[in-house]
Symmetry: C2
Subunit: 349 residues, 2 copies
Amino acid sequence: MDERIESYEEPHLGAVIPLDVRDNGQGLEPLLELVSEDMNAINRIILDKAVSDVEMIPELAHHLIDSGGKRLRPMLAIAAAKLCGYQGNGHIRTASAVEFMHTATLLHDDVVDESGTRRGRKTARMIWGNQASVLVGDFLLGQAFKMFVDVGSMPVLRIMSNAAATIAEGEVMQLAAAKNTATTEDDYLAIINAKTAALFTAAAESGAALAGRPAEQQSALRSYGKNLGLAFQLVDDALDYSGDSARLGKSVGDDFREGKITLPLILSFRRGTSDERQFWNRTIADGDIRDGDLEHAIALMRRHKALEATFERARSYGAIARDALAIFPASREKEALADVITFCISRSH
Amino acid sequence: MDERIESYEEPHLGAVIPLDVRDNGQGLEPLLELVSEDMNAINRIILDKAVSDVEMIPELAHHLIDSGGKRLRPMLAIAAAKLCGYQGNGHIRTASAVEFMHTATLLHDDVVDESGTRRGRKTARMIWGNQASVLVGDFLLGQAFKMFVDVGSMPVLRIMSNAAATIAEGEVMQLAAAKNTATTEDDYLAIINAKTAALFTAAAESGAALAGRPAEQQSALRSYGKNLGLAFQLVDDALDYSGDSARLGKSVGDDFREGKITLPLILSFRRGTSDERQFWNRTIADGDIRDGDLEHAIALMRRHKALEATFERARSYGAIARDALAIFPASREKEALADVITFCISRSH
């Protein structure tokens, strides 16, 4: 669920090459341009709906809202609505509410993970405490549903309420899998499909639902959102072992220290020797982490090409996302949505 | 948000007189009879919707769902729908979802209050941890919204999304007021109006909304629910200093130990001498609680008739709730809803 706009270079840890030099694509630029006017409206609504007479609510909400997230999910909702030729203005409110859902999840996530920093700043829980983070998360989720109701589309409400339950289910699955080195790649995929890809899916699908497009277009956008979300999370999880801390806004190795089971670890464990598995069991299952263990973990991942394989999986889901868009005729919107895939993947090379 | 079916006798702490002897009314019986068939259906839906492939979810959800709560809120939703002559079956699902919202709130509440017991059992957080309690609460809230969407009534969705945001707002207000002895009775009323009465209001109003009744009936049920909820919480807060621990399912003095600001404390602080205010500031504001302090606190409350006054306020809101029902013609449903007021108040004498 973490977000990092980051480039990655395999051989030299910490050597960061700017995105625009390496990805040979347009990155997020076409999307940003496409949605810029709507995003201004969304930013106003977000500020407006985080208001409450209860002082702590806007303070805490703004801390996270203003912290420089990309707003990738609302941008997807807007672009998908435009791709489908939607003419109303329900997409603005839908996209704003999607960002609120995401923000609520981040607040609860940081409590569950006991995280200290996010996007390079102290987490809300470090400033206002776990209690306030839980409750303000609940408030933002309530506000999100009020906004979906304001949009007045039952199909969108159905999509979003499903996503809310699925995201929480994914988070519980992740919690249950924590420290369990026997977790399979399939288990992991089920987790990231629920905790991350579900909201990408819902954001993309909402565009087709609002525009009342036929089922095949709706499911095409669903497939696009899902596979983009999977690719996004895979790259995120690889960067946790290979990115640049300053630019990540969190430290390399956070997942390792938390005993979070992600694909680089799953592959290294499975591809490793029995000695290596003992190392993973001591550090991850038993949580007995000593000086030099993170460096050793990264070395094992390199030895077994686990990071490479994780990025490769991401590219593969990215390709599925790209093909899902194929049924739509060529358009600026289609191009921009395809470039988002490139952007998410390009964080990896 | 705590629930206790409890009788109360002012002069002798711990001397419990059974409800049926003292309240001279029918208590919950007429309501239970009125809704019994629908409640069977609701109990089935509740079990059904707490299901998930993620093992921890039904385990944790059932711990609370099966723990013998009264299901007062869903019963209100059913009775209100019947009062309004609603002929469909959307009230069943609405009522089930209301109970899920309530359960989700309890899970998060117990995390925020660091509670050890609820309804005489260990809280979920003591068994599965705070993290799982937060996430399963989120899941139940998501499931609740899925159910409201299934009902398909936009007015009900509006009522419930408003309630969700308001409840969270109330919880944040309560957190912000914690340990603050300067909290006024008005502040306190705003808190319990949001954190408790909002869901009673929504449950009662949903009946009129489903039945498509005119605005005056909808607002009558809103007023009934709100004032019943206020009365309920006032009695609950008085019982925390005067009830019988075994029957409360939690210990007398929990609010005192947590530094929670409720009306008995507000009145005692305001009616007290400056020495007494120093006592409240030491125990509540500074959290410096010593042996005998709870007994002294209760003695101060008795001296200033703070518990009596709290029960008196509850009776006064109960009277407003009763008058709110007046516009409805006489019926078994109206009678049962009026008896709920008696029941909630009668926990106090």
